[in-house]
């Protein structure tokens, strides 16, 4: 593992250039440019509001600001995760030319794909924070958990991205499977609703590590409380374990990439 990280550091210039390229070309020749970075999360937020409204009509409770915040706070990381996976899965096959022609650690492709999405995520978050400043909402000391939770999310995305990108290199089916799973992921992840809504079945939803991370972000930002430690540890194991295993497998298969792409 140490050697793999060392090699990555050695090639940091390349990683930087690839991220820069991915960011730069993504919105090239588009009329909206970087506004696209917030369009996707905005759509998710709108869909979430619709569902929240429906639920409030059904239960007779009026909608509150915290409902709106919950949806937004979870929608942003969620769309980052979805975007990263989608992008990372294609990162090797989309760079066939480089994979077969030039040598460098291939890890840089999925990692660069995730980092390029972090960039989009930061734009969306910055805009969200500006909007938040105009409301009566405040955060407190628990919000300090957020960087750690986001880091876990990035690790999880990177680990999955590495696995999926090399799986997709060998079998293009993976791309379609990923597409299908991502389309319905919103139903299996507590974004529009809280896991607690399901009572004793909530555990089932939190087994999805993405769900556990999102719920905890919601806890510390919107509800001003400690993160749920059990699920935090659970998510940490998933994220870091996933990254290590994903990277290991990727590294092991790396030698065969050029011949099988």
């Amino acid at each position: 593992m140490g050697e793999m990280i060392k090699e990555l550091i050695q090639y940091r210039h390349l990683l930087y250039m690839l991220v820069w390229r991915d960011v730069k070309i993504r919105y090239k020749q588009t009329a909206m440019g970087f506004l696209w970075a917030i369009l996707m999360p905005m759509l998710v937020v709108c869909a979430g509001l619709l569902i929240k409204k429906g639920m409030s009509v059904f239960s007779g409770k009026p909608m509150e600001l915290s409902d709106l915040l919950s949806v937004t706070v979870k929608a942003l990381p969620f769309s980052f995760f979805i975007g990263s996976i989608r992008f990372a899965t294609n990162s090797l096959v989309g760079n066939t030319n480089l994979v077969t022609k030039i040598y460098f650690p291939r890890e840089v492709f999925p990692i660069a794909a995730v980092i390029a999405n972090v960039f989009d995520f930061m734009i969306a978050t910055a805009i969200f924070i500006i909007i938040l400043a105009f409301t009566s909402f405040s955060i407190d000391v628990y919000a300090l958990w957020v960087p750690w939770l986001i880091l876990l999310l990035i690790f999880l995305a990177t680990g999955c991205g590495m696995l999926l990108s090399c799986a997709n290199l060998f079998y293009r089916d993976v791309k379609y499977i990923v597409e299908a799973v991502l389309t319905f992921a919103i139903f299996f992840t507590p974004v529009f609703f809280e896991a607690s809504l399901f009572g004793k079945w909530s555990t089932l939803l939190l087994l999805n590590p993405l769900g556990a991370i999102l719920e905890n972000i919601n806890n510390v930002v919107v509800f001003h409380r400690q993160p749920d430690m059990v699920w935090l540890v659970y998510a940490t194991i998933w994220s870091i374990g996933g990254l290590i295993i994903g990277w290991r497998i990727f590294h092991k298969l790396e030698y065969a990439f050029a011949e099988n792409i």
Partner: protein
């Protein structure tokens, strides 16, 4: 021993013909087949072949080595093995030093980025730091002669411009070891010449260079030593001129002889103008070749060819008896004939080979040997391919 920067030790690389299983749908029948009919697992191996077979060589610091061979001989595979893109099935590869491989010009270009942005990107891909690229930016742009278009997206470039930009970046990478795969064939004539000069500069600076090309003269110009590959094996490794000559022989001539053993050569003698047997001539001196031929069948009206080759294998002169002297030869069974040709060698200083061939119009060769005897020409130093009689 530290001097050896690249080493190949009994390297094997296997490739397989035909399509692999690209989707899961193909994998499942493949796996079941493999499980059910274990014996047939070996049959699949028949589809495989050795792209590189037991190849060993060493390259020392500062050497420039060419790799030549017909298409599919495994040249690019060797470069990919050296650069680490492919891993050998067996054998060892050692590389000591910062290596940069130029397997395809502009491989890392993105069409939507401008020329300048692509220089940064491609430079990073080839292993340069951002600050290094910044320092060399002006040189690179100047070399590519594209300063007017450098802020235009490369998707608007012509293919020649694209290749020029690619080569310009690659030529400024400054590695310790440079692997180059057929990149001189880019751009127009003047740019090609410029590329070759740049490559010579790189070699002079002491960079170890491995150079793959089908352009034999530039291989000879650039490299002292050359590897000749055929079907994944090293055919020859040695002095560039020698190896390139072999290459010309094996791949351009051996295939020409259609019917063998109809004509055989009995004797050949080279004489100077004083009728002394020799292999040293002066430029513009008259010489005589006496060639004794025997035919094993009765043949009529065949044409004889007389040719002289330069040391690197390229043709200096090749003439047929019908065109030049309106002469045809006929043989009875087992008849021997002595053919005498007087020639004046208007050749510059160097080593040459004299050869002959016999052919029947539209029927191919009865005999072909372009290297019957070696001879030397002494002359004052001149450039060019001919040595004229002149009065100054």
């Amino acid at each position: 021993m530290n001097d050896i920067v690249l080493e190949f030790k009994n390297v094997y690389k296997r490739f397989s013909r035909g399509e692999k299983n690209d989707s899961l749908r193909d994998l499942i029948p493949y796996l079941t087949k493999k499980l059910l009919f274990r014996g047939e697992g070996y049959k699949l191996k028949e589809k495989e072949f050795w792209a590189v077979k037991n190849v060993s060589f060493e390259i020392r610091r500062g050497e420039a080595v060419g790799i030549i061979g017909p298409n599919g001989a495994g040249k690019s595979t060797i470069l990919k093995l050296l650069s680490g893109i492919l891993r050998p099935n067996s054998g060892e590869i050692a590389v000591n030093g910062r290596l940069s491989a130029l397997i395809e010009v502009g491989a890392g270009f993105h069409p939507d980025l401008t020329g300048r942005e692509n220089i940064y990107l491609n430079g990073a891909i080839l292993g340069m730091k951002r600050s290094e690229i910044q320092n060399k930016m002006d040189q690179i742009v100047e070399f590519s002669e594209l300063s007017d278009f450098i802020d235009t997206p490369v998707k608007r470039y012509s293919s020649g411009m694209y290749a020029r930009l690619g080569f310009s970046v690659a030529a400024h990478v400054d590695p310790e070891i440079l692997l180059v795969d057929e990149v001189l064939s880019v751009g127009d004539f003047t740019f090609q010449h410029k590329c070759l000069e740049k490559m010579q500069d790189i070699v002079k600076k002491g960079t170890t260079v491995i150079f793959i090309s089908h352009n034999i003269p530039s291989v000879i110009k650039l490299c002292q030593k050359t590897i000749l590959l055929n079907k994944g094996e090293i055919n020859q490794y040695g002095d560039s001129r020698e190896v390139c000559r072999q290459y010309y022989n094996v791949y351009s001539e051996s295939r020409k002889v259609s019917e063998k053993n109809i004509i055989s050569l009995k004797n050949i003698k080279l004489l100077n103008c004083n009728n002394e047997e020799t292999s040293n001539f002066k430029s513009c001196e008259w010489g005589r070749a006496e060639i004794t031929i025997e035919s094993h069948e009765e043949i009529e009206n065949i044409i004889m060819g007389f040719l002289i080759k330069q040391a690197d294998g390229s043709m200096a002169f090749d003439a047929n008896s019908d065109k030049i002297a309106n002469k045809y030869y006929s043989f009875k069974i087992n008849e021997q004939k002595k053919i005498v040709i007087d020639f004046r060698n208007n050749l510059p200083e160097g080593t040459y080979f004299l050869g002959v061939h016999f052919l029947r119009p539209n029927k191919g060769f009865y005999y072909y040997n372009s290297e019957l005897v070696e001879f030397y020409v002494n002359a004052p130093k001149t450039l060019g391919v001919a040595y004229l009689d002149l009065k100054w």
